[in-house]
């Protein structure tokens, strides 16, 4: 027997098949059906927006962190998610700026992967909301020919658009808030409504998210607690005053589904403990309803998630598990009182 060359690595010598890159890319693939649905409802414009956002985030990541970090897929997720929360008619140059901001301000200045406090895609979207309030609230209506642009996608920076020939439409939430008109739940679930690129088909988002939860690639406690809280809170308000939207409408309209399933569950920016995830989700659920019902905006998911993101370090600290064989502080206290 000739002497084999043997490695000397530290234990454990086995490793679970899940890697960070695999998790991230699986999330990207699980988003593809949602992107496809967006193409179906909003035509080529939707695909252009998602593609531009993704290219922009990936290019920014490459410029800032070098080629080494693209393989882990996290920049791609940010790009696709950013594209999905913008209106299909958004000028592409604005979309590209959103991508740069997502990676640059949302992730890189915190120190890159794993270091950021806020969901990078939502940082990008929040920036665009502040910079281009007009463009980001111009919601094209779904349907029409696939190749018909849904807005002035090819507008040049700082120029007035020249193709305002598009039917725009208030979102169901806008209708509800400002005109008190309800939209049928059936259309909401299937996605046949006005809204941003990916916040339309709630059913599809649930299916894709369910798959990720089944693979243990997202913590189901977060979407579950968001939906339960938002649904029950809204239903209670609706009982008190029927003018407020009902529970189901609250769940299936706007960006709640996409936010609950894909944005709030971002591992880096959500709590590390399961108990923390429940608290985080309940917080988001409450905030969404509060903002939607009493705030000045029809949509509150983005701000609700960003606000709860900022609380994650505190939630983590408050929900540390009790170490085996160490008595919980509360029990100790009770003992001290008793003695």
């Amino acid at each position: 027997m000739s002497e084999p060359r043997l490695d000397l690595t530290a234990s454990p010598h086995l490793h679970s098949p899940d890697s960070t890159a695999k998790i991230m890319w699986t999330v990207v693939f699980s988003l593809l059906p949602i992107v496809a649905a967006a193409g179906y409802f909003f035509g080529i414009s939707a695909l252009l927006v998602v593609a531009t956002a993704t290219l922009s985030t990936v290019a920014t990541e490459r410029l800032i962190s070098g080629p080494g970090t693209l393989g882990n897929g996290s920049a791609t997720i940010t790009g696709v998610l950013l594209g999905l929360v913008l209106p299909a008619g958004m000028p592409l140059w604005m979309v590209a700026i959103g991508g740069v901001v997502s990676i640059g301000l949302g992730k890189a200045i915190f120190g890159g992967l794993g270091q950021n406090l806020f969901n990078p895609a939502l940082i990008g979207r929040a920036f665009l909301q502040a910079a281009f309030p007009q463009a980001i609230t111009t919601w094209p209506v779904a349907g029409g020919s696939f190749f018909a642009l849904k807005g002035d996608n090819f507008a040049l920076p700082l120029m007035r658009g020249s193709a305002p020939d598009v039917v725009t439409h208030a979102t169901p939430l806008g209708l509800m808030k400002f005109e008190h008109t309800g939209t049928g739940i059936g259309s909401l679930i299937l996605g046949n409504v006005g809204g941003s690129v990916g916040e339309t088909s709630a059913l599809l988002i649930l299916i894709c998210g369910g798959y990720l939860a089944y693979r243990n690639y997202l913590n189901w406690r977060i979407p579950a607690s968001i939906m339960l809280t938002a649904g029950l809170f809204a239903a209670a308000l609706h009982l008190i005053n029927p003018l407020y939207p009902g529970g189901l409408f609250m769940l299936f309209s706007g960006g709640l589904m996409l936010g609950a399933v894909y944005m709030a569950t971002d591992m880096v920016t959500s709590p590390i403990t399961h108990k923390g995830c429940w608290i985080f989700g309940i917080g988001i659920g409450l905030l969404v309803v509060l903002i939607r019902v009493w705030g000045g905006l029809p949509e509150g998911v983005m701000y609700a998630i960003l606000i709860m993101n900022s609380l994650v370090p505190f939630i983590n600290r408050a929900t540390q598990p009790r170490v085996f064989g160490v008595e919980a502080p509360s029990r100790l206290k009770r003992k001290a009182v008793a003695s």
């Binding site: 027997m1 002497e3 679970s16 794993g114 590390i272 085996f324």
Partner: protein
């Protein structure tokens, strides 16, 4: 946590006695505690079972010749822990029948507690489950401890290993016999044997051998890693939680591995000290995975030869299980008392991926059996902030490797914790030395 079990390679293989190798190497340090004190000298002829080195105090056990032959060398030899250690090398007598000298076997029922403890120590018995803690020490708990229950650990939760599994399936009477002796020595009336459910034949065999005149029972356990860690086993079998920093005897329990117990039984059957043990030689890098009964001190090379040798693509060899065992690179390293198995891995199994930053996925928290926060501990370890790690109960980390196993970013968490523990120990020694120096200075002034 559920790593793949991978036990099918050897789970149904009968224990096979391997032919005596041409030489055996017996390090003086094969147990936790003080190394044994050398008695033999070069050139001596020894029979199987003869004393080579005596126990050096209570926290030590003797070393016996595991084969008849001539002492060829007393010197430094590669040790399974990666260091070099003093060892006795015996050239095995090729024509010896390897019969031990005739011995008196005392009847254990007539022996006092101290006599049993002494006999166990003189037989050189240590925990065969991996820790190699001298077995007699556990049989003599401090006077004020109230021990009421003996737990036998047959969980064998490490992937690949089937040593205890085969032992229980093939020699259940010996396990029960050893258990009776331990119960006698400890003065306890109740004994529970915990076996993971993935070994139904072992559970069956032990059940079939249970005596009617003693309170010994079998308790099937959920299959999960690390079910066989002492504190986890106690929790699973009794519901009691060993307080942080305390020992099982603080909750009235003594835990012993089934292989150790069987060996204790054997000592009172044959009088022969611990000179051989069952070792699972397995993994994709071995041609003929087997459960071998081999002399202590068999060189890795000879053990592998008895299993058809290594495959061409072997990349790493582990002593012990793949979760907690250590890699060895020298095929001359001897297999000593505490080695449960040898696992030869190939590159496709021993996958190495680049380490990425922590993505706070929480998997390590879910996997940690003692509910630490490995993610946070890992960040502190990277920064060298050992004192803060101590405050977060680093001492409770049992280095089980679960967190490293699940971490998708492939962060070597448990390895960093081992370094952190070592760093803390060093700091403490330094602090103690400084304090002593300060005292001396004051005394001199």
């Amino acid at each position: 946590m559920h790593p793949p079990e991978l036990k099918q390679l050897t789970a149904t293989q009968k224990i096979r006695r391997m032919p005596f190798p041409s030489e055996v190497v017996l390090p003086l340090r094969q147990h936790a505690g003080k190394p044994a004190r050398l008695l033999a000298s070069r050139g001596d002829h020894v029979e199987r079972g003869d004393l080579l080195a005596a126990a050096d105090g209570f926290m030590s056990v003797p070393i016996h010749a595991s084969a008849s032959g001539r002492i060829a060398e007393l010197g430094w030899w590669p040790h399974p822990d990666g260091s070099m250690a003093e060892a006795v090398r015996i050239t095995v007598d090729r024509f010896s029948a390897q019969l031990p000298r005739p011995r008196m076997v005392p009847h254990w029922e007539g022996l006092s507690k101290e006599q049993v403890v002494n006999a166990v120590q003189q037989a050189g018995i240590v925990g065969l489950g991996g820790a190699a803690f001298p077995a007699h020490v556990k049989l003599l708990p401090p006077k004020d401890a109230k021990i009421e229950l003996l737990l036998l650990n047959g969980a064998e939760c490490e992937p690949y290993l089937t040593t205890d599994h085969r032992l229980m399936a093939e020699q259940p009477e010996r396990v029960i016999y050893g258990a009776r002796i331990m119960m006698h020595a400890l003065g306890v009336t109740r004994c529970v044997i915990g076996i993971e459910r993935n070994k139904p034949d072992a559970i069956e065999a032990i059940r079939g051998a249970l005596p009617s005149d003693a309170d010994i029972t079998v308790q099937p356990l959920t299959v999960k890693y690390p079910q066989g860690a002492e504190k986890m086993l106690i929790k699973a079998l009794t519901g009691r939680e060993v307080p942080s920093g305390k020992l099982p005897l603080n909750v009235g329990v003594i835990v012993q591995n089934v292989g150790t117990v069987a060996t204790i039984g054997e000592v009172f059957e044959t009088g022969l000290p611990l000179v051989e043990r069952v070792v699972t030689i397995t993994g994709p890098g071995v041609r003929k995975p087997s459960n071998l009964l081999m002399p202590i001190g068999t060189r890795l090379r000879d053990a592998l030869d008895a299993c058809g040798g290594l495959t061409a693509d072997v990349s790493e060899i582990i002593f012990g299980g793949p979760m907690m065992g250590g890699a060895v690179s020298d095929l001359d390293t001897p297999i000593i008392k505490g080695i449960t198995g040898v696992v030869a891995l190939t590159p496709d199994v021993a996958r190495t991926e680049p380490t990425l930053p922590c993505i706070r996925c929480g998997r390590c928290l879910d996997s940690c059996p003692v509910f630490l926060n490995p993610s946070q501990l890992g960040l502190l370890a990277q920064a060298g902030r050992y004192e803060e790690m101590e405050a977060l109960h680093l001492a409770d980390c049992m280095l089980c490797g679960s967190c490293s196993y699940v971490c998708p970013s492939n962060i070597p968490l448990s390895q960093m914790f081992a370094l952190g523990k070592a760093g803390l120990r060093k700091q403490k020694v330094k602090a103690a030395a400084e304090a002593a120096a300060a005292v001396l200075k004051v005394g001199a002034a």
